[in-house]
Amino acid sequence: MIRFSNANVTYPNGVSAMKNLDLEIGDGEFVVIVGLSGAGKSTLIRAVNGLVPLTSGELNVNGHQVHDLNRSGMRELRSDVGMIFQGFNLVDRTTVLKNVLMGRLHKVPTWRTLVGKYPQADIDIAARALARVEIIEKTYTRASDLSGGQRQRVGIARALAQEPSIILADEPVASLDPPTSHVVMRYLQQISRELGITTIVNLHFLDLATAYADRIIGLRDGVLVFDGPGSDCDENVFESIYGRSLTADDTMAKQAAL
């Protein structure tokens, strides 16, 4: 479970990206966060695994008091939280398998990492993760030889390999075309349902948000302005979250038609 209590994040340059946030996300939920660029979506997601520290307030993730964690505690937390990035963040020069095995790093002793000999059990977990996103035939392919959608699937597999209880996805489909975006969102949704993984996704395409989210959270200028089921969200709700009228850029279907 994730709970923010009066949480604030102010960056060194003075920008306040999270203001008095009170938010609770239960186990297994599939939550989508929407908001304009600069609204604080990325900050919120990165606070959950401690990549962005809170300036004040409390954050509890699965029993860890994130704001109080020392370095090894932080690593322990992060090994339980998988993360998927807009830019995929794969090591282009290595194989898919080696990339996915990065998800096992916390559980594998350092000497094994140094020589590159991972235990069979961890390789099996990686294999399962690859199979789940249906990319196992590319196991020994260099990551740079894959398409965008394939790379993101590897990203998902890497997060899955951690056997996490939470998955964070920061604009996972922003670099992908519409059909691929749907595939990726479908994987995330299915993984969340089948494995009971709490999933938080940042999206800037509103039609994707309503299509896949159980619950939508709207942020504006660091403030939570909406929290409700996806079915409650229509254009008016989004316009009030954004603080402006919607454009074609806000919907994937309309932008694709441009």
């Binding site: 990549l51 998988g82 990035f85 090591v91 080696k98 990065m102 790093l105």
Partner: protein, 270 residues
């Protein structure tokens, strides 16, 4: 209205962007430095031409080198030794260079003070030329291959660390973030997210380092650190230019061949 009608009220052109003042300053400084230095060394073009065209045994020896010298009984051993020194110097130095370079980056060494110490250390190491290393080690541990090995060890660290550190400055930080986000330790992060990115470049640098070490190992013997340098010094003392050139030319033909191979290998890597 034609253009010529407007000639009397022609608009003023914007200021012509000439060569920047900085560039002019550099050019003047360079010219001044050249004049000053030429005076300092008593530069005389006439003297140069005269000395080059004068009959002398050095040039004569060059046109009649003793090709077999390198494999002669007394030069053969130093020749092999030169190769061995180059190999071992490269392997030892370049191996240490990788962790040292990683240690000088912000992601590999979050401690700012430690990082500055490592960088300063690297700077100092890099400003000592190979022969000076050799002289120092000969003075400390004595004449012979060991001082040559130590000299090339430090020289290799200097070369490879700098090149690797420069490459590390430009890597993709995304995988580093991903490694941090999955709870990996610093060492694991470096091994899986950083090293694979630079491995081809690093290997290329090691080969380049080897090329440099071949040249260095040939001459460190001049101060007594092993290799054919000692033979070069021997022939120089005796004025036996045919033997000297025979040795030198043959050796550098070998170096040339090795370099061609190394360059092709390096191209395949990057």
């Amino acid at each position: 209205m034609s253009l010529t009608d407007q000639a009397s009220t022609a608009p003023t052109l914007p200021r012509k962007p000439g060569i920047s003042r900085f560039a002019i300053g550099v050019a003047i400084a360079a010219a001044a430095l050249t004049i000053i230095t030429a005076r300092a060394v008593d530069f005389s073009l006439g003297e140069i031409i005269e000395n080059f065209t004068r009959k002398n045994s050095v040039i004569e020896g060059l046109f009649n080198p003793d090709w077999g010298q390198i494999w002669s009984r007394r030069s053969r051993g130093p020749f092999i030794e030169t190769l061995q020194l180059a190999i071992l110097g490269t392997v030892t130095g370049a191996t240490l260079a990788l962790p040292l370079a990683l240690w000088s980056t912000d992601f590999g060494n979050p401690n700012r003070l430690l990082r500055t110490i490592v960088r300063t250390f690297n700077s100092i190491i890099r400003s000592i030329p190979d022969l000076l290393w050799a002289s120092i080690f000969v003075a400390s541990v004595g004449i012979g291959a060991l001082s040559g090995l130590l000299a090339l060890f430090f020289f290799s660290i200097a070369v490879t660390t700098k090149l690797t550190a420069d490459t590390l400055d430009g890597i993709d930080r995304g995988p580093i973030e991903a490694a941090h986000a999955s709870g990996a330790s610093l060492t694991q992060m470096l091994r899986t997210a950083v090293v694979p990115q630079i491995l081809p470049s690093y290997t290329s640098f090691v080969l380049y380092n080897f090329e440099l070490n071949l040249r260095a190992s040939a001459v460190i013997g001049i101060v007594g650190a092993g290799g054919i340098g000692q033979r070069i010094e021997f022939f120089r003392g005796r004025g036996d230019w045919e033997a000297l050139w025979g040795l030198v030319v043959m050796f550098f033909l070998v170096v040339f061949v090795v370099e061609r191979i190394s360059v092709t290998l390096r191209r395949r890597l990057v």
